[in-house]
């Protein structure tokens, strides 16, 4: 029997993304996640010049909102949405939230969807969150002493370095460049320049991962709105177009160690939907929980072949004025990781770059940006992957 031709995925028509909002990050806060999410929602309403009642769709991501989920938040914040979703996909949540919200708006199930992500951070948050992260982690990783994903990413990084010849200096180059980008971002928690020497001499956390390979957990929130372009224009609200998106979970499960993510499976689909080539992309916001994952995304999203990441890193510069602007806000590595909002950080920054809202760190003539998401180290690899291509309106 002949295989049916794959269906072409619909574009997103006149659905747009707007209103990049960041609730300033702090290292520790005594407030609950509800506070940060509320400030994000309030920020979105204010930025768009709408009322709370205009928001008829809500998409929430948060680790520390527990025991509440999106539902609890509707009563907590006095909302009555006709579309509601809770995305527990870690750093892929922003891309996935965009995908869900965009289709809802496209089909008329909602008019204005607020996508918010945020987490609080107490001194014991990291330990508590990682202790109950997933059944597989609790049964098969946590008993071995790894508090959090450091050991899993150490395995991954060591394997990648051995397989493809990546060096610590390659990863350090990315971290140094992102820190340079962060210096122009007043919301970044890291304010000091980082040199390659400092990166290389910093203490080991879990060999070969060093201090500056790790994000700093903090409290904060990010948010954006999804609506029809017609509505955005009526509001006079700067916005960006959605050219294409992809999403994939638990790809390449048979790989003994993760060296590639779901983007490698769906990359062609992404550029076909967007009608562009990788070389048309002006800046990339990868999910940077560790620099090796940024390199993996660069490979899997078609900027170079698998294994050519180290060479790509050596041939390019990643500052906003460089040959391959990467994580132009500084990324999580230099801004901080506000829990699940770490994934939304890139999406929000992309909107800023495409709407001229990133003064001091604007990528010149930015027309097309790619946002990549990754997340959920359920056991030994990140299960979720996603990407979105946005364009200046």
């Amino acid at each position: 029997m002949a295989e049916a031709a794959p269906r072409t995925r619909s574009g997103y028509g006149d659905v747009v993304i707007a209103a990049p909002v960041t609730v300033p990050y702090v290292r520790y806060s005594i407030r609950g996640a509800h506070w940060f999410l509320a400030r994000a929602l309030a920020g979105l309403i204010d930025a768009a010049g709408i009322t709370k009642d205009d928001v008829d769709g809500l998409c929430v991501s948060s680790f520390t909102l527990a025991p509440d989920s999106a539902v609890g938040l509707t009563q907590h914040l006095g909302l009555c949405p006709r579309w509601l979703d809770h995305i527990p996909m870690g750093g892929a949540s922003a891309v996935v939230a965009l995908r869900r919200a965009a289709r809802a708006v496209q089909c008329g199930d909602a008019e204005i969807v607020a996508c918010i992500a945020g987490d609080t951070n107490h001194t014991d948050s990291f330990r508590l969150n990682t202790a109950t992260f997933s059944q597989f982690a609790r049964d098969a990783v946590y008993p071995y002493g790894s508090g959090g994903p450091n050991a899993s990413f150490a395995f991954l990084t060591a394997y990648y370095m051995r397989q493809y010849g990546a060096t610590a200096a390659d990863f350090g180059k990315i971290c140094v460049a992102q820190r340079a980008n962060a210096l122009a971002n007043p919301q970044a928690l890291f304010k000091k320049k980082l040199s390659l020497d400092e990166y290389l001499n910093a203490r080991m956390i879990a060999d070969p991962i060093r201090l500056f390979d790790c994000v700093m957990p903090c409290a904060g929130a990010e948010g954006f709105l999804v609506m029809r372009g017609e509505r955005a224009r009526a509001l006079g609200l700067a916005h960006a177009k959605i050219l294409g998106t992809i999403e994939r979970h638990n790809a390449f499960a048979a790989d003994p160690v993760q060296v590639r993510g779901g983007w490698a499976l769906d990359c062609g689909d992404l550029y076909a939907q967007a009608g562009i080539e990788p070389r048309d992309v002006d800046f990339v916001e990868t999910y940077d929980d560790y620099p090796v994952i940024s390199v993996m995304q660069i490979e899997d999203l078609g900027f170079c072949a698998k294994g050519e990441g180290p060479d790509f890193v050596r041939r390019h510069t990643f500052e906003v004025g460089g040959s391959f602007p990467l994580n132009t806000s500084g990324g999580q590595l230099s801004v901080g990781q506000a829990g699940v909002a770490g994934g939304h950080l890139g999406m929000v920054e992309a909107i800023r770059q495409l709407t001229g809202a990133a003064p001091g760190r604007a990528v010149a003539d930015a027309k097309i940006g790619l946002v990549s998401g990754f997340g959920m180290i359920n056991y030994d690899r990140g299960l979720c992957s996603g990407a979105a291509i946005l364009a200046a309106a």
């Binding site: 609790r138 946590y142 790894s146």
Partner: protein, 414 residues
């Protein structure tokens, strides 16, 4: 490279005794299948009975075909260490105290990738290894990678010695060191490097062949210990309890009667008084101080061994009251295990088949020789197990009991 441990320095008595910490102990129910196998020294993983896929981490449905027919099957653990790291920092107190700590990712030949502890003798990744399962200090199963060739001993790796109850350099109390089994246990302990062995003796006037040789061993100190005498047990605990690292309860009162063979309960009461209440007295006096010393330096309180019987699993009617007393002891030993686990002290329960001694004279072979039983006990202490079924009869009864306990009841009962 690992090196056998050297005699630890004398502990400074002025310093506060370190409180025991444990590795994370939470596991899902399905993951406890790993613990059930590790408790008897086996590595088992789930295998799908429909498509044959091997599963890890443990789960409720086959990751390949969704079948719910997953069976735990023995694995040889052969695989390749594909990556490794050294944890310099941990949120867990246990690992924080022991950092840096080597961890590995092994791709088993059987399919899954597994996170493991890594023996110091393992060559850097990539290298061939053999993965085994053992109980960690929390009494839960963990995986350990050792070099594929050779016989690396976790007790030789100072980081992994905590997974064992190695008698080397430790002080051991054997509750009855005069019986045939007791004497063999003392000899085996001396040969395995124990520093000091207190040999309990209940009836000092009673001669026993071979005992003078035991008394003459340089590690041995004979102490009065009668498990039916509460006061005496308490006195001994007061004298030596705070120094006992391993307690091996070999005391056993064994007669050969069911119900119909005797009138009156005196015989049964005597068996209970040693086998069940004796354990209770011993535990009340010695367990609290051993718990407090669960992390007391390099030679800490580490294990409590109970010599039970395979008859505890299913009653052997010709020795019916004895079986019942051993069953009572087994239940109490589980209680003791629950009370000792939080302190990282392992309760090891040993279930031999009939021992080749006077009380089993009329039973047909195979019977386990006292020396073989003693060897099994010491081997269990050197390993990472908590339930031991030494000898062919014990192994067979265990297999029959797990397969169909009612059938075993009929087979044994006639």
């Amino acid at each position: 490279m690992s090196a056998p441990p050297t005699r630890p320095k004398r502990k400074n008595p002025v310093l506060r005794a370190q409180a025991p910490t444990l590795p994370p102990a939470v596991r899902s129910r399905v993951a406890l299948g790993l613990t059930a196998a590790a408790a008897i020294g086996r590595l088992e993983l789930q295998v799908c009975r429909d498509c044959g896929a091997v599963q890890y981490p443990p789960r409720e449905a086959c990751h390949r075909c969704l079948s719910e027919r997953l069976a735990w099957r023995a694995q040889d653990g052969a695989g390749e260490l594909v990556s490794e790291t050294v944890l310099r920092h941990s949120q867990e107190l246990f690992f924080r105290e022991r950092a840096p700590w080597r961890l590995g990712l092994v791709r088993l030949d059987a399919g899954p990738s597994v996170v493991t502890h890594v023996h110091a003798d393992c060559a850097a990744a990539p290298s061939r290894v053999r993965v085994s399962a053992g109980l960690d200090r929390a009494g839960q199963a963990v995986l350990l990678a050792k070099p594929e060739a050779g016989d690396a001993d976790p007790a030789d790796d100072p980081k992994l010695r905590d997974m064992t109850c190695d008698p080397r350099f430790r002080k051991v109390l054997v509750s009855d060191g005069k019986s045939a089994v007791g004497q063999e246990v003392v000899k085996a302990l001396a040969a395995s490097g124990a520093d000091l062995i207190w040999v309990g003796v209940a009836e000092p006037w009673k001669q026993a062949p071979g005992f003078e040789a035991i008394r003459a061993l340089p590690q041995v100190t004979v102490v009065p210990l009668d498990l039916t005498n509460s006061r005496g047990v308490r006195d001994l605990a007061g004298e030596i309890g705070a120094k006992v690292d391993i307690l091996i309860n070999t005391a056993d009162h064994h007669r050969t009667a069911g119900i119909a063979a005797r009138s009156g309960i005196e015989l049964a009461r005597a068996e209970m008084d040693v086998n069940y209440f004796g354990l209770l007295r011993l535990a009340q006096e010695f367990a609290p101080v051993m718990r407090a010393r669960g992390a007391d330096g390099a030679s800490s309180a580490v294990a409590w061994v109970n010599l039970l019987s395979i008859f505890a699993l299913t009653n052997f009617p010709p020795h019916g009251t004895y079986s019942a007393s051993k069953a009572a002891a087994a239940s109490l030993a589980q209680c003791l295990r629950a009370e000792m686990r939080p302190a990282g002290v392992r309760v090891v329960n040993v279930y031999p088949g009939p021992i080749d001694d006077e009380w089993n004279q009329l039973l047909l072979p195979p019977k386990i020789a006292p020396a073989a039983l003693a060897g099994a006990i010491v081997k269990a202490l050197q390993g990472s197990v908590e339930d031991v079924y030494p000898g062919d009869v014990a192994q067979e009864w265990l297999a029959r009991w797990r397969d169909n306990p009612k059938a075993l009841e009929r087979e044994v009962g006639g």
